[in-house]
Amino acid sequence: MELSRRDFLKASAAAAAFAAAGAPLLGSNNADAAEAGIKWGKAPCRFCGTGCGVLVGVKDGKIVATKGDPAAPVNRGLNCIKGYFLSKILYGKDRLTKPLIRKGNKMVEASWDEAMTLIASKFKEAIEKHGPDSVAMYGSGQWTVFEGYAASKLFKGGIGTNNIEPNARLCMASAVTGFMTTFASDEPMGVYDDLDLGDTYFLWGANMAECHPVLFSRIIDNRLKNPAVKIIDFGTRRTRTSQMADQYIKFTPQTDLALLNAIAYVIVKEKLYDEQFIKKHVVFKKGKTNIGNGLEDKFKFTDDPKPMTFDEYKEFLSTYTPEYVEKLSGVPAAKIIELARLYADKKRKVNSLWTMGFNQHTRGTWVNNLVYNVHLLTGKICRPGENPLSLTGQPSACGTAREVGTFTHRLPADMVVTNPDHRAMAAKIWGIDPKKIPEKPTYNAVEMFRALDRGDIKVVWTQVTNPFQSLPNLNRFRKGARKGDGRFVIVSDMYPTKSTEVADVILPSASWVEKEGVFGNAERRTQQWFKMVEAPGEARSDLAQTIELAKRLGHGNLFPYKYIEKEMWEEYRQFTGGGKDLAPYEAYVKSRGLRWPVVNGKETLYRYAEGYDPYVKAGEGIKFYKNKKDDGRAVIWARPYEAAAEAPDKTYPFWLCTGRVLEHWHTGTMTGRVPELKRAYPSAVCEMHPDDAKKLGIKNLQKVKISSRRGTITLPVDLNGRGKAEKGNIFVAFFDETKLINELCIDAYCPISGEPDYKKCAVKVEKA
């Protein structure tokens, strides 16, 4: 203990010196604030993937204020209401400040030494008895880059298991596999500037108005300035976004697959595609069909891509006539044709934006592929104001989970464990034997907790996430965690959560500006911040916790740093050449974030585009250079419509969709402790169509019992709310820890991405 504490002191001293040398003094032109003795420092918002910059005001070792950072390009001083209350998230009354160890049914305070000794012994015991694949780390898209990197290095390079997953598996995995299958490199080509520059926005399964509030206000402003701007919202629920859109297109859940194919069908049939672009930049492929839904334990799937010609692709599309898809989706054929033409309109700068409607989908990878198809057919990609842009939910789902690669199959920067060259490179940078890194991926998130339930995994450590509220089919996993028989659950968090409830050890974590960190947002912008206040009590950063375990397991040599963050960054940076290049640490200290690839100190706005991306040579125009297999081309995939894992039937006649509200973030661990946000939206409700309610004889605000094959919950019905469910659908937000809607959700997942479908399962609704 002593040693690591000294390390911290040294590190923070180093950080301070570094900051003084490298970082310009921030913020304070504000005379009032200076007078009041408030010191301002920059940081990205702790919440969503938008990545707004904020200035954090510190006085007497406490955050006394935050404000939008006027110099931050993303938000220019603005925030949403969550960001506005950032200063309060650290100061909830029930902050965890001491390690807690389970003694029977009680959690008892313990010293760090006791807790870590116990944890290390459990790790050792499991590894000895059952092998390294019996221990696991479940992390987060809210990990800082360092925390994710350290965990990955320890587990893959030290312990020698691929049992590491982020909660990003539950939110962005399909986007990742979408990118990987189409472009062979994760993350978007476009940037937020497209929100200002385009004139046509197709939103798919994205309630941007509430979930990416600051970005949404950019699109709306664009429309105010340019009356030609059109916003088309595809959805299965009428949201605040639908309300502000020019058109709201409702469709039957799961038929987005068919709709996108129908749009491609019209584009091809009416020859609206960009022939030149297709010739130069595109190949066609098909993969396996009828690929299952991952409902069985130990489900495995490997796709088998086969090339096809444009004509074969046309043949594939011929099923998806607008008339056929009208029957499937409920969107009138004429509307499909109209929208396809709009997508292809040569005079229009078209963007597609999506989030969980696409990603949390049993065919999440496919539907991501399909939206790229439309952009690739029309050549509307890699140009200012014209791009498909996958939006993210967590502040560093991109920066940490995806870029550092904290998935079971991943290594940093687009690399995978299955590739021996990648393993060799990682081993070299990490200074370890390449054999140490196992070549086989193990479990995706759902499978990881299934394995815990079965007992194949004995020890699981979760950091900055709340799986025992956020997993689907929650009952199984909550019970599984407490089955005993050597199972040992460690939860690091800043507050008690539904996950600490099932933990054997709870570790108090430092959060946000209580530690130094780097986040990466949805437009590839990497943002750094310094530690500004001390964590309360004995709380420590997850980084320190992971390194402490490493030391106790004899892997301390993996973390030989003095100024941990800077040195680790420079090490991590070695992975990122060739198109995902990151700048030296100082560059991020000085800037309000830079969008990678950063080559020669210059950030990149549009990937794969000449004049923007330094890896695209003069004369190439556009080059998907990461897809070496296909000669620098992107892939148009023939992906069919396949039915949802569970659709409504006589007994369970409703679709259940879950999601978020603007006031709360994810499982509400932080926002639930901000009294203002709690008052603004106190508890979950069940949105329902008034006609359905009438049929069931349910009045507004009346309590109903909602049940699926997996669970039951009672909620008041909201017929007048901000979201209007379509007939046959209900919607419930998942932030409310007293109403675990995820108990009802099905743990079916996309076989390719492993991401579960939280948007579709069958439920029944009765008067309570």
Binding site: G68, R76, I81, Y84, V214, S217, D221, L662, Y681, N700
Partner: protein, 220 residues
């Protein structure tokens, strides 16, 4: 004791008759004047009355302060006023910042009222007017400063009717829009949910007495 009762005999009674009549006459006059004065012009501010409350003057005349409305409210939205309410003491009202009215579709509060102070015949909870929400402090409204707050708007049970968002260009950032919550008094029922939800320490949106409708003949 017999003595006592004979002591309170005829003479005493006569005396009291005179002695009581005059004070009573005075009391009637004084009481009338002071109650009239007290009631005038909402001297003690606006009280948000439960759904179906008749016009305030008549409400004060009719309400017999039985508290049945308050007992009927499933959310305990209705409070009975204390002495601070002057002649409104004991009358039911809603303190929106504590618990607003959630607009029960079956309006149990009004149904419970025996006295006609609340209109029992009320059927559509969305057609009432308890008051009208007003943004009283534009400077403090986060949405008007360009932030994405609009909590009041999203929580309004008559969203897009009673409050709408009117976006306009944010001059300062150049790329964002200011989403202004605009209240439409003809639709706002005055439930106070917005006031309750407003995220500022002092609510920026507050339910006030609905101003009288001023008629003219422009039909737009």
């Amino acid at each position: 004791m017999i003595q006592k009762s004979s002591h309170t005999g005829i003479t005493r009674r006569r005396f009291l008759k005179n002695g009581v009549l005059i004070p009573l006459a005075l009391a009637v006059a004084g009481g009338s004047i002071s109650t009239l004065f007290l009631r005038r012009a909402d001297a003690r501010g606006f009280y948000l009355r439960p759904p179906g409350a008749v016009e305030e003057r008549r409400f004060l005349a009719s309400c017999i302060k039985c508290g049945k409305c308050a007992q009927a409210c499933p959310y305990k939205s209705i409070k009975m006023a204390g002495g601070e309410a002057g002649i409104g003491i004991g009358t039911p009202h809603i303190v929106a910042r504590e618990v607003p009215c959630y607009l029960c579709p079956d309006i149990p509060c009004a149904k419970a009222c025996p006295s006609g102070a609340l209109d029992k015949k009320l059927e559509d909870i969305e057609k009432i007017t308890m008051g009208t929400a007003v943004i009283v402090d534009r400077e403090s409204c986060l949405s008007l400063r360009g932030l994405r707050c609009e909590v009041c708007y999203r929580q309004c049970p008559l969203i897009d009717k009673a409050i709408t968002l009117e976006p306009r260009h944010n001059q300062r950032t150049g790329v964002h829009s200011i989403m202004e919550p605009v209240i439409h008094r003809d639709k706002c029922v005055g439930c106070g949910i917005c006031e309750n939800a407003c995220v500022r320490d002092q609510p920026v949106i507050v339910v006030m007495k609905s101003p009288p409708v001023q008629k003219d003949y422009y039909e737009f």
